[in-house]
């Protein structure tokens, strides 16, 4: 088919290739931007010390070197938000008198107020007081941090226990208020009293733990020479950033990536991790698959094997095509009106009347978001399943029927198992689409910070009415609704990279599966 081009051809052909070149360049640029900045987000950087001409000093990580007509400028992450009021500053190089890389500067990752950059001065605790940075202080600091971690764990489990007890108590109280039988009330009264006593005990235990932990303080000096002390409980990790070798940095990098994947977000999502968003995304696509897969497969089976060619088939094909073309926001607004207000409102009226006007299902939640997305991804499943069904040769079908199988037996035992790669391809593509879709979710139940996961240890374990977090929405929220976009950028790129990697992995799997299927299709054609 490809013939040698003649001389006159080469220019127009080159022009057509230009289109491809530009497309591929754009794609490469986008991928490189996300991946490079995403991977770099947690890479430990050197702390640089700048002595300014006006006598003041700054210590920070250099995030970006900007070339402006007025000269070079640095985007510097200086941390210490509670002191300076901002994490990231622009520094004009013209103002700098000298710069150095102080070996002993440290970076503290804190649970509040972002990072602290400075120098260690001393450590105080019950029966301990170390002055001056040195091996002694650092050894003690490590030990104390280990202790703090234990205390933190204990605090958390105690809080969790108290929360559960309070939840149970709330249910009992609700029962009494709603008018339980006299016997039941008599049964509940002592329980309520007992739980109140226990809650009080827990509170006092929490208080004493906190005040004991508060005795541990870390003395620090910041770049401007002022010393402050931090409660050690706030410190998550201390990093001697300028002393670390490659191995040390790599270890720290991995640890940070681990934190990113497993921790809750902190400080209006600009720090911490994205675990709830990952969890919410996964649970949402699982629920969505439960709805989209059967419906999509059945539609495809009907179109391919059951329906007689004719008006109805053309109608269904038209519907599938159009469903694929309906803007996602229309699905969203439909989900809001139909699932949330109409169905959710109905469910509330029938089963949760006692909580009204506070809506239970009549407001955005993971169930409604999943159903909305199931509708949105239905065409993807249908189209891929159709391809899978065509890959099963007519001969195979005939053989099954000839053996006396009914049509349903043929479908169930021969055709569907053989079409499985196609079905899976469709499902994977649907999941990939759902993982990246944001607009319909924004109005059907995604929030920037969900108070609790939709699946937890509280009865009935799976809370379909709860709002949830989503990686795609997390990106939108960080980039466009965050009060401090500059400080959120590393998280933003890291989240974008995570989402892209998930989508890439899903799509590559789908492509491989489909290639495998097509190969078989070719064989089946013989």
């Amino acid at each position: 088919m490809k013939r040698a081009s003649t001389a006159r051809d080469s220019v127009p052909v080159m022009v057509t290739s230009l289109g491809l070149v530009l497309i591929l360049l754009m794609l490469a640029l986008v991928m490189w931007l996300i991946l490079s900045r995403g991977f770099a987000a947690f890479w430990p950087q050197r702390l640089e010390h700048f002595q300014l001409k006006d006598g003041s000093a700054l210590l920070g990580e250099v995030w970006e070197r900007l070339e402006t007509p007025e000269g070079q400028r640095l985007r510097l992450r200086t941390g210490n938000r509670e002191i300076t009021g901002q994490d990231v500053q622009l520094l004009d190089m013209a103002e700098v008198a000298s710069s150095s890389i102080p070996q002993d500067a440290v970076l503290l990752e804190r649970h509040e107020n972002g990072v602290f950059l400075g120098w260690l001065v001393g450590l105080r605790g019950p029966g301990l007081a170390v002055e001056g940075d040195g091996p002694n202080l650092r050894r003690n600091l490590d030990k104390a941090l280990e202790h703090m971690e234990e205390v933190d764990g204990e605090l958390r489990s105690l809080q969790e226990e108290a929360r559960r007890l309070a939840l149970k108590r709330g249910r009992w109280e609700e029962e009494v208020e709603r008018g339980a039988s006299v016997r039941r009330v008599a049964e509940l009264e002592p329980r309520l009293e007992e739980s109140a006593r226990r809650l009080q005990l827990m509170e006092s235990r929490l208080d004493s733990l906190r005040s004991a932990a508060d005795l541990w303080r870390l003395d620090l000096r910041s770049a401007d020479g002022a010393t402050t002390d931090l409660p050690l409980l706030q410190v998550g990790r201390w990093v001697p950033a300028n002393e670390l070798g490659l191995v040390g940095r790599l270890g720290l990098y991995l640890a940070r990536v681990g934190d990113f994947l497993s921790e809750d977000p902190r400080e209006s999502n600009t720090a911490g991790g994205v675990w709830p968003a990952i969890f919410g995304t996964v649970l949402m696509v699982l629920l969505m698959s439960l709805a989209a897969a059967p419906l999509g497969v059945v539609t495809a089976v009907y179109l391919h094997d059951y329906a007689r060619q004719g008006f109805l088939v053309r109608l269904i094909r038209l519907a599938v095509n159009n469903l694929a073309g309906v803007p996602s926001i229309v699905f969203g607004i439909f989900g809001l009106g139909f699932f949330i207000y109409f169905m959710g409102g109905g469910v509330d009226g029938a089963f949760f009347g006692h909580r009204l006007p506070e809506p239970t299902y009549g407001t955005g939640g993971i169930l409604w978001a999943s159903l909305t997305l199931a509708l949105l991804t239905l065409p993807v499943v249908v189209v891929a399943t159709l391809e899978g069904l065509s890959a099963v040769s007519p001969a195979t079908r005939m053989a099954a029927l000839a053996l006396g199988a009914t049509r349903w037996q043929m479908m169930r035992q021969v055709v569907l198992p053989n079409a499985m790669p196609g079905i899976l391809t469709g499902l994977i593509l649907a999941v990939s689409r759902a993982a990246g879709e944001v607009a319909p979710l924004m109005i059907t139940g995604v929030v920037k910070l969900a108070p609790s996961l939709a699946l937890d240890g509280d009865f009935p374990f799976l809370h379909l009415e709860r709002k949830f977090m989503h990686l795609g929405f997390h990106i939108y929220d960080l980039g466009f609704q965050s009060p401090n976009v500059e400080a959120a950028k590393p998280m933003l790129f890291a989240t974008a990279m995570l989402l892209i990697l998930i989508v890439l992995a899903l799509n590559l799997t789908a492509i491989l599966l489909r290639n495998h299927l097509r190969k078989r299709y070719k064989q089946a054609a013989f």
């Binding site: 230009l18 929405f473 892209i500």
Partner: protein, 736 residues
């Protein structure tokens, strides 16, 4: 045969067989049902979204009419509470009849008038819980009273109670007041948040009292020079800061209260041919309507001119056949009731000029319920309550798709502004800026994506070696899978700031690249060794080299252009010389981002269409001696034209509906401005941003559903056309 086999196998196998058949039949039935589910789903979306939007166009109606009581005496003023539990009217002897519509029974609360003193005119200021009344008598007295209602919720059926509270704020001013030596002829009264205003006249004397609501003090300002003291109609603005007077010659005089002093701010003709008979301000105090003895209505609106504000004629309101007797402003929006001497009543919406309801409803006094969902009609013989369904009066085709003169705007315009800071806010629901925004974004996206995607598709389907096509296709598929939120975030946070800095560079690149190609054509054709090794990569490499050269040139030229032509910065130059404002997040940014998102769609479909052109056609052309390019240009492209068109249509559909990219890469300001350097607000983004704040069932909620319905119909039409083209193409090529 099967039958006999079953008999041979005995009853057990027969049962099995029957079960098998049953399962089969059940499966057929279920699968058929499932197959229809997609059709049902799309129908459900259409019907449901449409059903929510439909009430916007159902208009307003007057519903059930209920006679509450037979009136006693001549009703001067009437009203109801926000639950419509109580309906009351005040008769000319100064007795307030309160009728309990829930429990039955009534209550009479008298005003302290002298025994023969009669009420001659009343001004009313409605509120959710309290109606303030100013009552003028035939002895020249003015009494302020309020009807206060409250609801008893503890009862099995909640009911309301009312009391009459008297205020004599003018007592302290008694010595200053010059008595009007006859009956009060006209009266206006209003209480805003910070100011109150009371004006009355009789026997050629006009009295105005103003209230400082923070201090709770009344004072008597001096009337400005030249104010006609015997107006034929007068009205106080709801904010308590304005007084309008209509003279017998049809002149309008507007008085403004500022710091307790009155000033005359406007004197202009009302635009009526006969003598005015009624005057009323609408909610927001920026619209004024007057009626005359021939039944005509004039509507005026305050607009911002260059020299401050002025009042101009607003849309005409439908005229009555008989003299206008009463004008009553609606409590929540720009709805206005006008009644004529012949018993005809019309409800208008002042912003659009639309007549909402027209009915014969004889009565002396009309009042809206505080929520605007009922009318109270007080006639000589009865006190009636009439249901009013007026949920979306602000909607008309003109409001949605045309220009309207809004309050405070210099000229009529198509404006989208759905919510405002105060209750007085005039909602503006023109979809034109949104549709314009969507089309603008789509246009820029197509300008960038169509050439690139089509060129790339031609190259891959016709010229590229197989190995290249096999690598490129998955890459394009990955590109299609990139979540739009990521593209949007890169566009908004990375590309937009970069473009702002490098605008000259990008624009010169876009100009230089085609010029370079044109320049290279003769050079190339003269080059003897233009065929460089195996095909495919070299062409791609040539393209790459050309791109790089063009970029390099642009990179060299851009600073020169900036320095020599644009005085340092193109953006500044644009603003100063051309008056073009450059927004960081503008249509160019969207064009690139949205273009990036639709490229893979157009590419894949176009590549498909080009690749499916029957080989016989291509071979025939080549056999006739046509070159490869001529074949592509003259044979393949025309044969696949419809498919390529369908590809562009599908890309268009996707661009129209895309939400996150336009949300993140534009400033989301609803503008009607074709400049590529400012942003816009697209329909999809508007829905995404505003729906969560729209109250369920409200006008905004339904308008957003209507917008979604439009989007749905746009894309439905586009996709159906594309599908139709694809199908007919398949058929045609199938025959070849």
């Amino acid at each position: 045969m099967r039958h006999s086999a079953n008999q041979a196998l005995g009853t057990r196998a027969g049962g099995l067989h029957r079960r098998r058949l049953l399962a089969d039949r059940l499966a057929t039935w279920l699968i058929g049902l499932g197959g229809l589910s997609v059709v049902l789903a799309i129908l459900l979306i259409f019907v449901f979204v449409g059903r929510v939007a439909l009430p916007l166009f159902q208009g307003s109606q007057l519903g059930r009419e209920q006679s509450v009581s037979a009136a006693s005496g001549t009703p001067m003023v009437s009203g109801t509470d926000s639950y419509q539990d109580l309906v009351w009217s005040l008769d000319s002897t100064g007795v307030l009849h309160v009728v309990d519509a829930v429990r039955g029974g009534s209550q009479d609360l008298p005003l302290p008038l002298d025994s023969l003193e009669r009420v001659v005119c009343v001004a009313q200021e409605g509120g959710l819980r309290t109606d303030h009344l100013a009552v003028g008598t035939d002895r020249g007295r003015v009494v302020l009273a309020s009807v206060r209602t409250w609801r008893i919720l503890e009862a099995a059926t909640p009911f309301s109670q009312a009391e009459l509270e008297l205020e004599d704020p003018l007592a302290a001013l008694d010595s200053l007041l010059e008595e009007i030596p006859g009956p009060v002829e006209g009266l206006a009264f209003a209480r805003g948040e910070s100011a109150g205003l009371l004006a009355w006249h009789g026997k050629g004397r006009l009295q105005v009292a103003v209230e400082d609501r923070e201090m709770g003090q009344w004072s008597l300002p001096v009337l400005p020079e030249g104010v006609d003291e015997s107006p034929v109609a007068l009205a106080a603005a709801p904010n308590g800061e304005r007084l309008a007077l209509a003279t017998g010659s049809g002149q309008l005089l507007l008085l403004q209260v500022e710091d307790g002093a009155l000033s005359l701010v406007a004197r202009q003709p009302l635009g009526l041919s006969a003598s005015p008979t009624a005057l009323a301000f609408l909610v927001g105090s920026k619209r004024l309507v007057a009626g005359d003895a021939t039944g005509h209505l004039a509507s005026l609106v305050e607009v911002q001119g260059e020299a401050g504000s002025r009042w101009i004629a607003a849309p005409l309101l439908a005229a009555h056949a008989a003299p206008v007797t009463r004008l009553v402003a609606g409590p929540r929006d720009r709805t206005l009731l006008s009644a004529d001497a012949g018993g005809g009543v019309k409800l208008h919406y002042a912003t659009t000029g639309r007549t909402l309801v027209e009915k014969s409803l004889p009565g002396r006094h009309f009042a809206f319920s505080p929520r605007g969902d009922a009318l109270v009609v007080a006639g000589r013989d009865s006190l009636r309550r009439v249901e009013l369904r007026n949920a979306h009066p602000e909607i008309s085709w003109r409001a949605l798709f045309g220009s309207l003169q809004y309050e405070g705007y210099a000229a009529p315009g198509a404006v989208w502004q759905s919510t405002g800071g105060s209750d007085d806010f005039e909602p503006k629901f023109s979809l034109l800026p949104l549709i314009f925004g969507t089309l603008k974004g789509t246009l820029f996206a197509l300008l960038i994506s169509v050439p690139l995607a089509l060129l790339g598709a031609i190259y891959i389907s016709q010229f590229a070696p197989t190995w290249l096509a096999r690598t490129v296709k998955p890459a394009i598929e990955i590109m299609a899978a990139l979540p739009s939120v990521i593209i949007g975030f890169l566009a908004g946070l990375v590309f937009a700031p970069w473009l702002e800095e490098k605008l000259t560079l990008v624009l010169s690149f876009v100009v230089i690249l085609p010029l370079l190609i044109l320049f290279m054509v003769p050079v190339w054709q003269r080059m003897p060794g233009h065929k460089l090794g195996p095909k495919g990569l070299p062409q791609l490499a040539q393209g790459l080299v050309l791109t790089l050269i063009a970029f390099l040139l642009a990179w060299l030229v851009a600073p020169l252009l900036d320095a020599r032509l644009f005085g340092g910065s193109l953006i500044q130059w644009l603003q100063e010389r051309a008056g073009v404002v450059y927004d960081q997040r503008n249509s160019l940014v969207v064009g690139f981002a949205l273009g990036f998102a639709v490229i893979p769609i157009i590419f894949t479909m176009a590549e498909d269409a080009l690749g499916n052109v029957p080989e016989a056609l291509v071979n025939a052309s080549l056999a006739l001696g046509a070159s490869r390019w001529t074949t592509v240009y003259r044979v393949v492209l025309p044969a696949a034209a419809a498919g390529v068109f369908a590809a562009v249509m599908i890309g268009l559909g996707r661009a129209i509906g895309e939400t996150m990219i336009v949300l993140m890469a534009t400033g989301n300001t609803p503008l009607l401005d074709p400049s590529p350097f400012n942003g816009f607000r697209a329909m999809s983004a508007c829905i995404a941003v505003e729906i969560s704040e729209a109250p369920l069932g409200g006008t905004l909620y339904r308008v957003l559903f209507f917008t979604a319905l439009l989007l749905f119909l746009f894309t439905f039409a586009i996709n159906s056309v594309a599908a139709f083209i694809g199908e007919s193409l398949r058929k045609r090529h199938g025959r070849l």
